[in-house]
Amino acid sequence: MARRGAPVDVVGVGRTFALAGDEVTALRGFDLHVPAGGFTALIGPSGCGKSTALRLVAGLDTPDEGTIDMDGSSPDEMRRGQRIGVAFQDPSLLPWRTVSTNIRLALELVGRRHDTKAVDELVELVGLQGFEKARPSQLSGGMRQRVAIARSLVTKPDLLLLDEPFGALDALTRQQLNDELQRIWTARGTTTILVTHSIPEAVYVADEVLVMSPRPGRVVARHAIGFERPRTRELLLTDRFHAEVEAVSASLHRSEGQVVQLDTDPS
């Protein structure tokens, strides 16, 4: 399989915010290494700085300390080179645009407005054929997320950053989209970082699961996930899957130093 995309190297990154007169340190000593074409999931307790880390990698924010390098480029250079695709928990679609023009937005922004083929391809890839002319308000939550994913992929980015893109969806839809995400990643081979709350989701889709500590966030445990691909739903029922989930959960538990609410959604 042709692997493409940029390797990501994050070393010793820290970020502090001023919030209502207080200083809040979201990240301190945060390290992350994703090989080119790798799929890494970030997991951790609420407010541990997962999203902050992702925004730093995306070049949407700048760290106070530490370095982020991607194939010799800084996040800002990657962003300016339009080599990044992002999708968030909120699909952030433009309500006045249709499915295909929402996907096309990314192309317009990188100066490839007329690449209708790419749009059609992505519509098909995320399974939205027949809905090209629909507006976001006419779509279900899952369909909107597919549009957001399609938009993040349409420019063929070297780095795909996903911040809980399926967080607000029901378990069934979520599993479906995870399957598709895996399929798309397999087809495209883009370096991908996924932030999620769900341990089973992380274990199911990623090559590596990184567990973060509570704020100030840093990586406290790494779990390489060796399941062969393509992974199917049968995997969810296997003992080795459960064992892996338990292991990650235990790391998370240790990192928090308290009882962890296990998210066992994908049944």
């Binding site: 979201a26 925004r55 990188v110």
Partner: protein
């Protein structure tokens, strides 16, 4: 989650300066420039008084200024109280008895569209001498915006909470008491903020119908006596008081409902109409019928003598059937043409300028932080106080009307559009930023579309206020257009022309309001409902 910056991170070092420091610096710079201009370019011109002279003038006659200010403020406060109570009562009735809503709305809108300067003498006729006319005008000036705000507030009550009340077997009244009243507070206070300067305007126009004291009278006297310093003292005082009222009401609103974000009534979309031609027709005709009933009832209740009182039939005859009708038509519609031309020019300049300024503010944050407080202050200045200052600068040509209308529509629209732009969903901005979108792309894809509902809502509210501003300007400054026709009519005791002008201008204002509202609805529907949240 993360405390992400709410505005696009600007590159300017000025963005790091604390807002208070920046605002003060800009304020001081403006004052210095003002002083400099007044002492050089405008020296001896009877136009611009230097700030030092304004302060000196105030401290030479502090009692005079404070007494007049107190008088006008007191009048405005009474009008504010009665007008808002009436508006809230009407909003309660509209909410509890939904079938009344359309008719009440039509009457309230019509009252809002009535040209003040023409109904002032008619009110004076009913109330006789004293302070009742200024108070009544002041009350009329606030009814519409507060009614819309209160209605919106009641409607904003969460449906689930209403269902909870219903699930306990309780009726509309309980739901109203327990849920809607509380839910309405933020929107209501946004409406009251707008009402404060409007009440002031009503009070001052009322003073022009005869009073011993008040800022309006002092202004007219000062204009005639070449007392430029005095005009500026009054303008500055009124600005301070109006801004103070605006901020105080806002603070009270936040204190009463800390859980709710600030709301702006100017950014509220129009309610949807029921589909179907018959519904629409009924929706149109019923309110018109109600307005006519009110017209007759008004004449009958106050027993106005036929010499003054003209019924809709009289107005129709005057326009279409009596022998002088063609002459009347040419006077009224000729003047109306002038008014509409100057007004729409000012209206468009005001709206476009406001939108452009809002975009500049959103793209250049340090500019916003230094100038926005000034814009908020200027938006609350009653037009009657700005008018003499504009006259001093622009003179008294057609341009004056345009300038006054532009100023009247500019500031509210600027504040509303800017506020809407700051509420552009962060995710959309992040998506754009992740592709290193240009400022132009940000404007096109995010800021402009997000501000469209606010722009349209502002444009709708600005229709009657622009016509009001235009007629006041025509009266006090230019002597053109329908405003002049109305004033000439009542000084010459020509009540036929007066009523015809009032009727025609009101109908035009209501139709213009409807047109903008219809355009707003269509646009919002096309832009999808998601945006109007």
């Amino acid at each position: 989650m993360a405390a992400a910056p709410t505005r696009p991170a600007g590159g300017s070092r000025l963005d790091r300066v604390p807002p208070r420091v920046l605002s003060s610096a800009v304020g001081i710079a403006v004052l210095l420039l003002w002083e400099l201009l007044a002492r050089t370019v405008y020296a001896g011109s009877y136009r611009l008084s230097p700030p030092t002279a304004v302060v000196a003038e105030f401290f030479e006659f502090p009692g005079l200024y404070l007494r007049n200010l107190w008088h006008s403020t007191k009048t405005a406060a009474w009008g504010f109280l009665w007008g808002n109570l009436a508006a809230m009562a009407l909003a309660v009735a509209s909410t509890l008895v939904p079938c009344l809503r359309r008719s009440i709305g039509a009457v309230v809108l019509t009252v809002f569209c009535l040209p003040f300067i023409a109904i002032a003498p008619i009110l004076r006729l009913i109330t006789g001498p004293g302070n009742a006319t200024p108070i009544a005008l002041s009350a009329l000036a606030v009814v519409f915006t507060t009614y819309v705000a209160a209605l919106l507030g009641f409607d904003l009550a969460p449906g689930s909470a209403l269902d909870v009340v219903r699930s306990y077997g309780r009726g509309r009244l309980t739901a109203f008491r327990n849920v809607r009243v509380r839910a309405s507070v933020p929107a209501l206070f946004a409406g009251l903020q707008i009402a404060a300067p409007a009440a002031f305007l009503g009070a001052v126009v009322g003073e022009f119908t005869g009073a011993h004291r008040g800022l309006g009278i002092l202004t007219v006297r000062a204009l005639g006596a070449l007392q430029t310093d005095r005009i500026w003292v009054i303008a500055v005082m009124a600005t301070i008081v109006a801004t103070g009222g605006y901020l105080a009401i806002g603070a009270l609103g936040r204190y009463l409902c800390p859980w709710s974000p600030a709301l702006d009534v100017g950014a509220v979309p129009v309610p949807r109409t029921e589909p179907g031609l018959l519904n629409r027709l009924a929706g149109l005709l019923a309110p018109i019928a109600v307005v006519f009933v009110f017209w007759y009832a008004f004449l009958w209740v106050f027993g106005i003598e036929p010499f003054f009182a003209k019924t809709p039939v009289d107005v129709w005859a005057e326009l279409f059937s009596v022998s002088e009708a063609p002459e009347t038509r040419s006077i009224i519609f000729g003047a109306l043409g002038t008014t509409l031309w100057t007004t729409s020019l000012g209206y468009v300049v005001g709206l476009v300028g406001a939108l452009a300024s809002a975009l500049v503010f959103i793209l250049v944050p340090w500019l916003e932080r230094s100038l926005m407080p000034i814009a908020v202050a200027l938006r609350s200045i009653p037009i009657i106080v700005t008018t003499p200052v504009i006259i001093l600068f622009v003179g008294r040509g057609l341009l004056t009307t345009t300038a006054i209308v532009a100023v009247m529509s500019f500031f509210p629209t600027l504040v509303n559009c800017y506020t809407a732009m700051t509420r552009t969903p962060e995710g959309i901005l992040d998506v754009l930023k992740s592709y290193d979108a240009t400022s132009a792309a940000n404007v096109r894809n995010a800021y402009l579309p997000t501000s469209v509902p606010a722009l349209l809502a502002s444009a709708r509210i600005a229709v009657p206020t622009s016509l009001l501003g235009a007629t006041v300007a025509e009266w006090l400054a230019t002597g053109d257009g329908i405003g002049a026709v109305m004033v000439t009519a009542f000084t010459r005791n020509d009540f036929k022309i007066l009523w015809v002008s009032v009727a025609v201008l009101t109908i035009v204002a209501v139709i213009a309001y409807w047109l903008v509202a219809a355009f707003e609805l269509r646009t919002l529907e096309r832009m999808a409902p998601g945006i109007s949240r």
